[in-house]
Symmetry: C2
Subunit: 496 residues, 2 copies
């Protein structure tokens, strides 16, 4: 399948179309025959696997274990927690029958005799089935904490879907923890938010703003939702991970009590936290350019590609021999490298393809390089080329990968920081929000005002940030809409 | 939660009950609120993760990549391949609606307005949705082979379920490959069977018989199904992995053609192959004993547990200091070790618990050991104890783990080989099948005879083995039932 780079829309022309095309052309994912469900293609899945592996290691380092809970949830479970059902029971996939039978007219039809007594829902999230399970695991404070995570697929019947960003089925992890005290649960929720932020910054090279959601934007059933918010290259926000302090809501809904140290029965305290394949969308939109993907070296399935340029089989054999040593030494340094000496594609095609796929470093060796013991090094982030001696090239590449990792983080952070502004009047806000970016503004703390702003401008409160981003943003002021007092500025943006 | 070992039924009393109790008591899995669906608990999941990681490495070493395809399959897809629909369209979970709404009487009800035009089936296996996708990936022989694997959950509405062995939802991997020639596809199917056999023998320490299924036992839609068959401690067979040569059946059903090297359109050749959480059942039933699990060191989440015995906080502090060095050196050797100095459980309880959980090696250090620089070493497979010097204990333990791995394989193989017998008459067969084990017998090759034997004796043909297991089993003879000619003996057994 030919790579038709000339057909990749420019970001400046149509950002949304650029994204959609890039996901497909870079072989990351595609639409399936089932509405809203995607196929994650091998190259896209390889990136997701690297994310998974790293996150999983970080979860285990913080004392978590993996488990697996059922895909299907009895319908009645969803109604147990009043707010949860509001948030999740609407658009979901409902299993009503358990058998098909032959259709006299050909094919198969649902067997009406095989109707379930109670319908089952494909999990949109697993709090209910998990807390129903935890009930049997917890008797005493000695059984706490429970620190479980699950890697799973979930399903929400979204009407408007976009590959990775919003799909009916998506892959994610969901942590569900149970604690003896409110303080411990709150600390866990914050700890996992920090894990997500570390992962985003150190692996995805994506700067994020940590904060807490407004009541209106909370997870259905949570007392507090913490979030990491990233800025995409069109200035829109992408919520990249959330961690919820659930209080005792699910413990009460599923009657999960424990005997505390004072020998008294108490409801258990809970958290849940998750990131999903949506992170793939965030990764793509944070770094990529009009030539294609730009992948951070820490998550690139192929970190270095080596392409030979040759005029004869003999010359190729010489290059093969030379490259074999380089490949071996790069691998010994823990670098994933691909030597592409396939003869069915021209070098120019290969260059464009690996650029499109975001391989961080490309090495090219031709006849003159053989004579001079040199290699051409191209870095994907800046597209800069240089010719270097092969001596010590492996250590140079290793350092270059780290430099690229740091550079794209810095670039993304500079971009974001330039686009964090303030607005002091609603008019100013309305004008600025059209330019995209994050706006720090005063808000009176009411859902009413929040909804009005959303109605007027499509902007939502992304979070009340933990840290300060512009001078004075933690000082009190007056709501830009109502003039009522506001304790600090909050971040508004349009979002994915 | 207390470990009540005295309540573990003995294998000799009731093998089936022993298994069911062991799975639950060793914290591997439990029934969920959804009929036929299990919860895989953290300890059970940790073993599954080790299996996954190893299998995944082996798949990648043989050139495969991972991808992800949708959970839901349009109903009409199942009917495209005539045999496939017979095998899989019967008992499956059918999604008919995409929304719930508030019930005036409380709770939620299915919204009748949200009925799907075409019902969706939760994948019982993914050949149909994957071949529908491959159609767009394949144009020319240059696009082949495609060597994809998927780790996923699947759903088959089983009426009689048992934890790990047969559950409605289970976790598995399914490889789906596409090839330009019949020969290449056949070779792939056999290659993956060999990967499964290697995994079973080297990691699970479980001897398996490789062979091909009779037509009646083939996967629905396959031209050939290859299998690995293991013998459980009750003499029953457990099919542990299958690999299918699918010919061009799915390519024809989904119209997947390619331009071959001769510039002619041709249908693509296919394989599929899978192993599932059923392997957990196989692992448990192959090695475990009346004291609990016996885990092969290569898959044990905890390979070594160290338990202190102390009479004072001071003595514990001394043991802690001593053990810290041992733990560090064991970890440096790549051994996963847990030091359990928790003070809320007595040593006797810990011993029973780690035995129940199948930890391969236990080290115990008490006051006298401190004085003598010794440690008590217990190996789980034989329950033998010895006291050894701490000097060089780490290397000793490393070698011991390999010895245990080999020993339990050998023990399982000896057990199995003793229970492979022959039968030359149907009467002899009927008598012997009551004792369990594998019986090599002549069969006339017809499904009719096969079904009669199953009806009479509950025994099925497990496979036509590749290798010889008793002298003369590859020589021709006469069917034990009909007297018709038979080219070689095949393996019969009752099975899970």
């Amino acid at each position: 399948m030919a790579v038709e780079l000339k057909n990749l829309t420019k970001r400046s022309e149509n950002y949304s179309q650029w994204y959609n095309e890039l996901v497909v052309k870079a072989d990351l994912a595609e639409q399936s025959a089932v509405r809203g469900c995607m196929v994650i293609k091998p190259y896209g899945y390889a990136i997701w696997e690297k994310m998974q592996r790293q996150l999983d290691d970080m979860f285990k380092e913080t004392g978590h274990v993996n488990a697996y809970f059922p895909l299907l949830i009895p319908k009645s479970f969803l109604s147990r927690e009043a707010e949860h059902v509001e948030g999740f029971a609407k658009e979901c996939a409902v299993v009503t029958h358990y058998r098909l039978k032959a259709d006299p007219n050909g094919g198969v039809v649902v067997d009406p005799a095989a109707k379930l007594e109670e319908e089952l829902i494909i999990r949109p999230t697993s709090e209910t089935i998990i807390w129903n399970t935890y009930k049997n695991w917890i008797n005493s404070y000695r059984d706490l904490p429970i620190l479980c995570n699950q890697w799973a697929n979930v399903f929400r019947w979204e009407m408007r879907t976009r590959l990775f960003l919003r799909t009916a089925e998506f892959l994610w992890q969901e942590g569900h923890t149970a604690h003896a005290t409110s303080e411990e649960a709150e600390a866990e929720a914050v700890k996992m938010l920090n894990v997500y932020a570390d992962f985003a910054e150190k692996y995805m090279a994506m700067p994020v703003i940590k904060g807490v959601k407004s009541a209106n934007e909370r997870f259905a059933g949570a007392l507090n939702t913490y979030t990491i918010e990233a800025m995409m290259q069109d200035g829109k926000a992408l919520q990249s991970g959330t961690s919820h302090f659930l209080g005792q809501n699910f413990a009460k809904a599923f009657d999960v009590q424990f005997v505390n140290k004072d020998n008294q029965l108490e409801y258990v305290w809970a958290t849940s936290w998750g990131v999903s394949t949506r992170l793939m969308g965030a990764l793509i939109m944070t770094h990529s350019d009009d030539n294609g993907l730009v992948l951070p070296p820490h998550l690139a399935p192929i970190q270095v590609v080596i392409v030979p340029i040759y005029r004869s089989a003999e010359m190729l054999a010489q290059i093969d021999a030379k490259v074999a040593g380089i490949v071996e030494r790069l691998k010994a340094l823990g670098i994933s490298v691909k030597y592409d000496n396939a003869d069915n594609k021209r070098p120019g095609f290969k260059f464009a393809d690996y650029e499109l796929k975001g391989v961080p470093v490309r090495l090219v060796i031709g006849g003159r390089d053989l004579e001079n013991n040199t290699v051409e090094v191209m870095r994907r982030d800046t597209l800069e080329k240089e010719t270097r001696t092969c001596d010590g090239i492996e250590e140079y590449v290793k350092a270059l990968l780290e430099e690229i990792q740091n550079n794209i983080y810095q670039k993304a952070q500079d971009y974001r920081n330039r686009r964090i502004t303030t607005a002091d009047s609603y008019d100013e806000f309305k004008e600025k929000i059209e330019q995209g970016g994050f706006i720090l503004a005063h808000w009176d703390g009411t859902t009413e005002t929040e909804l009005r702003i959303k109605e007027d401008t499509k902007a939502t409160i992304r979070c009340i940030p933990f840290e300060s981003y512009v001078p004075g943003d933690k000082e009190p002021g007056k709501c830009m809409v109502t003039g009522k007092p506001s304790p600090y500025r909050v971040i508004f943006a349009r979002s994915y």
